[in-house]
Amino acid sequence: MTQLASSAALKATMARYFQALGDAAERKTAPVAWCTSVGPAELLRALGFQVFFPENHAAMLGAARQANRVMPLAHAMGYSQDICSYLTTDIGAFRLDESPLASYGLRGVPRADILVFNTNQCRDVRDWFEYYGRHWQAPVVGIRSPRYLDEVREDDVDGVARQIEAIIPPLEAVAGRRLDAAALAETVRLSRRLSDLWGACLDTAAHRPAPLTFFDSTIHMGPAVVLRGAVEACTYYELLLAELEQRTLAGQAAIPDEALRVYWDGMPIWGRLRALSELFAEFRTNVVASTYCNSWVFSALDPDDPVHSMARSSLELFIVRSEQPKEEYLERMVQRYQVDGLIFHDCRTCPNNSNTRYGMPQRMTERLGLPTLVLDGDVNDLRCFSDEQARTNVEGFVELLTDRRPAGTR
């Protein structure tokens, strides 16, 4: 696997973001808002907040394989082993006063002036934010989202839009300024631009051979998560897209001699990202696309109708939908990326991001005639993941996919 040249720019972009956050929290250069990963970030940015995404922070702890060391402290506080391991990792690390942000010069997670959730993904994000709200006596506001939607109906969008409008006054109070309509429109415009660029980057994997892997995408998605509505994110993805398009033109493959293409549904397993990436590469198999990385593509965002379009994009997300639209989505992805099989990660502590528990893999096999694999694991809690079992599972799946290919196609 050859590293993308854009990686240096990615590192610099993320470093600048974290340093600005640190300045805001420690030298009070700007108010700090915490936001859930698919929460109303554009609104916060338009109000001049530096925006911190604790899910990103928890993923960093997971990737650094610190999660299992720190989680027991949160468990001891009564946060169960069965709930979101992002939450228990982050709070455990906070109790130990540890943070990977130290490498960017921060003393720890930036202290929140206000915390803003959207329960469109789960309830755990709110419980997580409430902990910090109590700890710092900071206001916790947010959107209590409808979930499990068959279709995104106008009344649902209106309801969420009203909730977004309702959190503006408390946000203004903390920000110390009024929301400027033009600033919000511009932020939404930039966010949409970023979204389109990120979507275009992911789309390059539809090419054979694909110029990037799911594992690359989980790293390169950083700015798409934390810098929505910021011009520097757009700049970064213009660079990344150019590189990926160049790779595509040159026929350069992320996995040399790509033999199989598979799809990943569910959360990444942060502490095993590299190991899994190497495992698939060993079998000349590219995990070309994922539900996860595509979740930060908000195509509904519209600068002419910022609040409503924010509401709509928060409801159109895969995770907010019922089984039927999810299955239709997966079918579109399978066709777009021409995959040989689907892998579903059953993430032990994240039921809402595990599409394995109501028979979907079996239905997808029936619907598409493609083999599916269920991989047991967790986003952060590595006690729920077995390296040996995962290897056998993946290798067995690759054998199966290879045997299915008509002779002479390789």
Binding site: N68, R69, M71, P72, L73, H75, A76, M77, G78, S80, Q81, R348, D381, L382, R383, C384, S386, D387, E388, Q389
Partner: protein
């Protein structure tokens, strides 16, 4: 039948892995002790343990004023004059030895407990582990088996470790797969032995409530002190061991029987 004029008392703790029996003389000093593996034979092994401890104390059943029973199989001790909960007996036993308030970590074969003991020896609160973290003793037995040592030698192996190989698992029993994986990756048996003990310590940390001073009791504390070192390293809290930790509850049962 226990004699009313006798001064000695005995306590018997019928655990899932071992039956422990203790004889206290009239001054409350330990006069005899015995431990035998349970293996599902509660009645027989309880009798065996009691009589071995009496033999150790050079006494007979007739010399006992009372016999207190505790533990998973306490109901199968026909001669018992009274029965008490394990947690209460551990608290009484540990307080008898140490005489101060403490957080008592009870590590037996099956169900770990964190027990808060007040300055007067009273039992204040106790918390157990989550369901998938039970079977700590069994897990260590499996670990020993994979490392080709007798369970009592696991500690020796761990003491020579340079680092703890990560062997955590959501399920206690399944943790043994992690042991095999680490060995196959080339981790030393010593490091895996230590890692097994640390994984037990992690599950204790999760229970919470480890307010100093922390004292450990139970069979795991007796045979696998490496678990306590792991606990200390993870919490930065000093963990002391109750005297004769395997017999703490048996001592408590004897004392409680004398009072009742």
């Amino acid at each position: 039948m226990p004699a009313t004029e006798a001064l000695a008392v005995a306590g018997i703790d019928v655990g899932t892995e071992y039956v422990k029996a203790i004889v206290l003389d009239g001054d409350g000093r330990i006069a005899g002790r015995a431990a035998v593996a349970t293996r599902g034979y509660f009645e027989d092994r309880a009798w065996e343990a009691l009589h071995s401890s009496l033999e150790d104390a050079r006494m007979a059943e007739a010399d006992l004023r009372a016999l207190g029973a505790t533990g998973f199989g306490s109901g199968r001790v026909a001669q018992a004059t009274a029965r008490f909960s394990e947690v209460a007996c551990h608290a009484t036993g540990a307080f008898h030895h140490l005489g101060h308030a403490m957080t008592l970590v009870v590590l037996g074969g099956h169900d770990p407990q964190v027990v808060s003991v007040g300055p007067d020896g009273s039992l204040r609160a106790s918390r157990g582990a989550r369901s998938c973290a039970m079977g700590l003793g069994s897990f260590l037995m499996y670990a020993a088996r994979h490392l080709d040592v007798h369970p009592t030698r696991l500690e020796e192996l761990a003491a020579a470790a340079s680092t703890a190989a990560p062997v955590s698992s959501y399920c206690s029993v399944f943790g043994s797969t992690a042991i095999l994986e680490r060995l196959r990756e080339g981790a030393t048996r010593e490091d895996v032995a230590m890692g097994s003990m640390w994984s037990v310590a992690e599950r204790v940390v999760e229970i919470g409530g480890l307010e100093p001073p922390v004292v450990a009791a139970g069979g795991v504390a007796e045979f696998f002190p490496g678990v306590l070192r792991g606990l200390q390293a993870l919490t930065h809290v000093e963990v002391r061991t109750a005297p004769e930790p395997m017999f703490t509850a048996a001592v408590g049962a004897a004392l409680q029987a004398r009072r009742s």
